[in-house]
Point group: C2
Chain length 351, copies 2
């Protein structure tokens, strides 16, 4: 049975998001599937068997965050020009977040914008990245610093692809789901605590609830002028951890897991969160095999790295925290430096 | 006196377009002026004297269409990253169409989009390019093939900058104004026939009427799904002429002038235009020093080149023509190849 997402106010996300086994797709136009060797070797045949199109190209790009660059986007664009794609042509992002972000960005640029659809194959991209229209690439100054807000025409989420996903990557996806539940929906958090997330029906329900939450937030605030920033809970700290470890030690979701633990410690310190609630979040992360501690070698340096974040406008750091109970949130940009550093100190050497 | 443009239905163009001497501008954020050496040497001091900002950078890029590339955009982006621009920062496009298109495109990309304003300094960019949100760059496959639809936050048109514009470039701007009048407004065409366009008050009125027409069309059809395509009158032919002459012999507006004469010949052939009306358009172009003839060496090759245009979806060529009277228009994509080639033959060797 197809699970379709029902949205409160579909102002930005006007497209279908379905959660089910991939249906047959018939396109009266040229189509290019953008994917990487890993996904391609596992699932490309499955996808190709579903697609009929005027012409179907497969563009394979190298696997990994280090190839999420403008140079790769240019290479994809060149293949589209060589294949004489026109304004009616369609791109299909077939892979995880990196593939989705780059395919969407390429679609936004080609002849000032052509259609694209998302077929995400990782839990992280299924629950989060494939919905919302943030596209882009990294450069030497940081992550996702060049890009566009550009919405797909449809998102097809097939949980079957998760059967080949390494457990560590599954867990990294769970971190983003926990983030959503802690910020917006305590019922959902309890559901995740009660159930085995690997169970097929539970996975599907978890995806449905995550995507519904995410889409409702994007509909309220596409460009992240307000509430969408709440989705960066755990990310303020997580980005610094990723940066300090050169994006090699932790998966993004793992860094976010640690980041949430740090944010919670700050919230406890400020009296915004009970020790019990912080413990509940810690438990669900640990129970799903996620890291929850990080040795901060130099608190001052760690603090300075907050300012590298593109969201730190005009020298203020935005902290996104639980606000008195699980399922609620607050954004604070005036927390005393001394308090933040005291909390960071808890994660220092010897912890 | 500031002339403000009044629009019928400001759905896309919600920003101010003013036609007047530049006012003082005070920005509580970082600002970068993007310009080229020609404009900079003539007018940068004038502009700088008007601007107060938290920080004001000047990014100078080489002058000319051949530098309208992704590499130049990357160079601008790097300067912004080095200067630690954030999401609240502002770009100012200060120059002609190339500067405007690239500055807008850069603004659309930087951290997924920052504000920019247009201060166009050529007649072409004042009457046409600075309004409408088409941004982008060329590549080896053609012109404007990579880009974004991205609207400025304001357009300030100061006719004073035209005092240093070479007459040939002034004429190239007039060609785009004639295009607008022939397609949409016979009264406006008569006004242009009656008046000396170099006269200061006439220039200002010509800009006002052009921009109003252009903005109303963009408001009806930002993404060029329908009526906006009418603005390509003269361009179907003009693009081939530019391409055949390697973008070096004619200014864009000059190629469009010849293109309009060719389109009119086709319209006359199809009974959509009287010989008298075609003569009126020919006269106003010639009276303003614009070229109106082009020697087509090989009709078949010229015809094949139509298909290089990014607007020729699915193998059909869109011809935009007057439709029975000046100030009216029609788009036809099913004109018999033989008829088109007969008309092209009129512009062949020996003409």
């Amino acid at each position: 049975m197809v699970v379709s997402i029902e949205l409160k106010s579909p102002s930005v996300i006007k497209y279908d998001i379905t959660i089910d086994a991939l249906a047959d797709m018939c396109f009266d136009r040229k189509v290019a599937i953008v994917t990487n060797p890993t996904v391609s070797s596992l699932h490309l045949d499955t996808l190709l068997a579903k697609i009929t199109a005027t012409q179907c190209e497969v563009v394979t790009i190298p696997d990994g965050e280090e190839f999420k660059t403008l140079a790769t986007v240019e290479a994809i664009l060149s293949e589209l020009f060589e294949a004489k794609f026109d304004r009616k042509s369609l791109l299909i992002a077939f892979g995880g977040g990196v593939i989705g972000d780059m395919t969407g960005f390429t679609a936004s640029l080609y002849q000032r914008g052509i259609d694209f659809i998302q077929i995400p194959t990782t839990l992280l991209s299924q629950v989060d990245a494939s919905v919302g229209g943030k596209t882009g690439v990294n450069n030497k100054y940081g992550k996702n610093l060049i890009g566009a807000f550009y919405q797909p025409k449809a998102v097809h989420i097939d949980p079957y692809f998760l059967t080949t996903l390494p457990p560590r990557e599954f867990a990294a996806g769970v971190a983003e789901v926990v983030k959503m539940a802690v910020m917006f929906d305590n019922d959902f958090l309890e559901y995740m605590e009660r159930n085995e997330l690997y169970d097929e029906a539970v996975t599907k329900e978890m995806i449905r609830r995550s995507v519904t939450l995410k889409a409702d937030i994007v509909n309220q605030d596409e460009k992240e002028a307000g509430i969408r920033a709440v989705l960066n809970y755990g990310h303020t700290f997580g980005h610094v951890i990723e940066n300090e470890t050169s994006y090699s030690k932790y998966l993004h979701g793992e860094a976010v897991a640690i980041g949430m633990v740090m944010a919670n410690a700050l919230a406890v310190k400020l009296g915004l969160m009970s020790v019990d609630d912080a413990g509940r979040v810690l438990n669900i992360l640990q129970n799903n095999g996620l890291p929850t501690n990080y040795e901060i070698k130099n608190v001052d340096e760690f603090y300075d790295h907050f300012f590298l974040d593109k969201k730190s406008n005009s020298g203020k750091i935005k902290f996104i925290l639980p606000n008195g109970a699980l399922g609620t949130n607050i954004i604070l940009d005036d927390i005393d430096e001394k308090i933040v550093k005291e909390v960071l100190g808890q994660f220092g050497v010897g912890e």
